[in-house]
Symmetry: C3
Amino acid sequence: MHAPQDVRAHAQAAADILARLRAKAPRVHCITNSVAQNFTANVLLAVGAQPSMTITPGEIGHFLSGAGALLVNLGTFDRERAEAIDVAIGAASAARKPWVLDPVLIDRSPPRAELARALLERHPAALRLNAAEFGALGGNSADTAALKQFANRHQCVVALSGATDFVADETRAVAIANGHPLMARVTAMGCAASALFAAFLAVEGDAWRAGVAGMLILGVAGEIAGERAEGTGSFAVGILDVLHRLDAATLIERTRVS
Amino acid sequence: MHAPQDVRAHAQAAADILARLRAKAPRVHCITNSVAQNFTANVLLAVGAQPSMTITPGEIGHFLSGAGALLVNLGTFDRERAEAIDVAIGAASAARKPWVLDPVLIDRSPPRAELARALLERHPAALRLNAAEFGALGGNSADTAALKQFANRHQCVVALSGATDFVADETRAVAIANGHPLMARVTAMGCAASALFAAFLAVEGDAWRAGVAGMLILGVAGEIAGERAEGTGSFAVGILDVLHRLDAATLIERTRVS
Amino acid sequence: MHAPQDVRAHAQAAADILARLRAKAPRVHCITNSVAQNFTANVLLAVGAQPSMTITPGEIGHFLSGAGALLVNLGTFDRERAEAIDVAIGAASAARKPWVLDPVLIDRSPPRAELARALLERHPAALRLNAAEFGALGGNSADTAALKQFANRHQCVVALSGATDFVADETRAVAIANGHPLMARVTAMGCAASALFAAFLAVEGDAWRAGVAGMLILGVAGEIAGERAEGTGSFAVGILDVLHRLDAATLIERTRVS
């Protein structure tokens, strides 16, 4: 259990990173699935980032040259997206820009899991996924020691979404208790978490801190939106509203980490 | 005109099927158009189903193996979707899983109508469409006798959307008067009806009952959302909220069938 | 500065065109990016138009034959879309139907800018874009004389979005001060402006008047929705609600042009 001052320090760090994001308005290029594109773009805009989403191989290098980070999301990927992912990771690596891998539903599709394992070898700054997806990569979500071990082996931050979220690198791990059950009842919420993580990487060099900020801010926004929502529709709308207006005082008041 | 007790029986049957859907949370694989994907996923999640939407041929078999039903929607179909549809129907047929055909806008596109006619020969459990689309398949929507005849010829349930919805198999037909004019002013509402039908097929073996439940529940939700909406935007949000909270008492109170 | 009676005349003309749109419910075919498709369709439905969005080359001619106008939007274009654009412009030109070019983000992608320049030679009725995109086409947004010059050189109406919107043809130019800062914080708002322009072209033969109506109506709707919104989520929902209910009195009261 973290001491109250640690909890407050996490909240304050997230608020600082969010303030930087709003001030710098970084571009985030997203190779993501067609189900999630609109909501992902609106989540990024709500926090102050500038999304771009082209999957045309000949354009990706141009878009990445002005972007601060890249999101690679494997949901509903088609052939052109598979090629786009390869080109985008190559361009991000060459420019030393951080990228986030979101291996959506690889637990249900062996060929997609195989692709995710190959991409993990290409050094993403972070991996954002749920426990079932983590298991399909050989990950063990039983405790934070196992998460740190995985992060160390693959030299990337792991953000694990669930009733409690975990963010770990090889030496640090935090459990985030914020969030709301409705987050599992709206499509693309995990995709949005990965996109936020990428946006925060564009303004924060410590990838673990960027991940904690992303998961914490989405969890707090989900919690507030969930308390006000009349169902899944107004919840999805409300989470954008809350992200747009979220302030440091609310983050400090709401943050529950350990 | 159905007697009051018949109306109540329809409402109660739909409520029972909805309760089963919420308890079992079946997976529904959707090959659907990019305009409708996000709303369709959120409609399925609102009633408690688990959507998946990949169109990559090499993955579809894996996704279908865990799914309870398949939706095949022909809106904005591209080349990869055409191949995906073929693979998905093959996999569903081999596994004897029910699938719903939604021949979007075939009345405006002869090549699409030709594809729909070919797919109709591959034994969908159900066909969900509007009167113009039904006409393009040679269907006659003039009366329920004609609907039953079509259902008998093609051995599938027909769900016809309009100011009044009809659901027919070879021997049974029901007219559903629920709904709201705003349902025609939001994109993908018909696509969502077909997706709901597929979700109900995953938990109800009698395809006609599944279809009546799907059309009735969407009609009642649309009616309630329409009464509360301030326009088309809040209507689309509201229908998700209502679907998420709909209970048996409301269904029984609202159902208007004959 | 326009005299008050001119302002009122612009508002009244826009209201008249909107009334015609609602009465005729024209079809508008949209080749647009997958991020914007759903919102674009809902914006068109909110004002009373009928969207179609297929990108399958073999179908586009059939869809265009019943459409009143075409939108060509270059956002997230893939290979099939590039082919679809070529086919669609050919069909629109052959049938002498107006089309709108929206060169999304060409300022960030030289190959996309090259495509936009080539398409501009194929005689769109209108070009709708922002200042950065206009610059990538060699356009100078410094004053209305430069806009008129560009419109004259390319024989098309130019609608330039920004804090103030401008609509110009070779002899006429108007500045529209309506709008709200939240319009830049929701994805696909520019795409929606272009779609509205196309819809108005389907019912108004004077392309400049159609463009003024489209930009003015979206600006007024954005202004009203922005005043009521609690953030970016409710803003995007609210703008659909306002578009759906907008009346002549509100337009006349709100219009600020010069």
